[in-house]
Symmetry: C2
Subunit: 156 residues, 2 copies
């Protein structure tokens, strides 16, 4: 299950995507999406550190996506906030960690199953961008190129 933090992050990112490049204040997002303002502040900071959003300070400040919505996937956001998609670290691509209790990982039956599972989730979440989720069938040419290609972005 995702943490509350991560759910809020996803909602905020979708909210920003709807603003189509424009800037939004934390308090506006918080109100619209029913998220505690102070909590959302902290979450936006994480998203910024992860380079998924950019910010402007002072009056008229706010947050905006740092990339077009068709270049930001759900998988990316979830990994930034909550970490691995896989059900066990030993089945993860991006957050791999060996199981202490497992003698021979390559022979582990459980691991094989969980790798299958993680590949299926990753396929969905790395394919789905903020843009596609919003129903926009408008995929930028750049995005199309990237996602068809075997670039590291599509790797789970």
């Amino acid at each position: 299950m995702l943490s509350q933090r991560c759910k809020y992050a996803l909602k905020a990112m979708v909210d920003l995507a709807r603003a189509s490049g424009g800037s939004r204040r934390v308090s506006d997002i918080a109100e619209q999406e029913n998220i505690p303002r102070k909590f959302l502040e902290a979450i936006m900071a994480d998203l910024k550190k992860g380079l998924l959003v950019a910010s402007a300070r002072g009056k008229l400040g706010g947050y905006r996506l740092s990339r077009p919505p068709d270049l930001i996937t759900f998988g990316e956001i979830i990994r930034l906030i909550d970490g691995p998609l896989a059900l066990l670290p030993c089945a993860s691509q991006n957050f791999y960690r060996r199981c202490e209790d497992c003698e021979d990982e390559t022979a582990c039956v459980l691991r094989r199953v969980l790798i299958d599972a993680r590949n299926e989730v990753a396929a969905v979440l790395d394919r789905t961008t903020l843009a596609t989720a919003l129903g926009g069938s408008s995929q930028s040419q750049f995005a199309a190129a990237v996602l068809t290609d075997k670039s590291p972005i599509s790797a789970g």
Copy 2:
């Protein structure tokens, strides 16, 4: 991510499946799978309450699967110990719960994506039984019938 508890449960169930119907002592499973014995005791109690295993007390006691290995899926075990497969309760079939902060669930973009994701994981985990995981292509006739059918067992 799965809890440690759930990982241990899965390993124990695979261990029991290898015993092909035979009984195993907690201490033996614990040693073989590198699981703290007392902790495993508690986990086996959960599995028993969930009717996935049966037990015999006293000397020569132990645990065994309560059904043939090709009638026990990974999804079933995970749901019993950790709960929902879905990333959010509102995207779950078996543990559905509404999001407090969501005004109109049917219009929620996020939910739609997460339902897709959960369906993919569920497909893998509800299809994979202890038997298939162990590489046994031997599926009992009963199992084949059940899994082909639209019985509640295959429902996510």
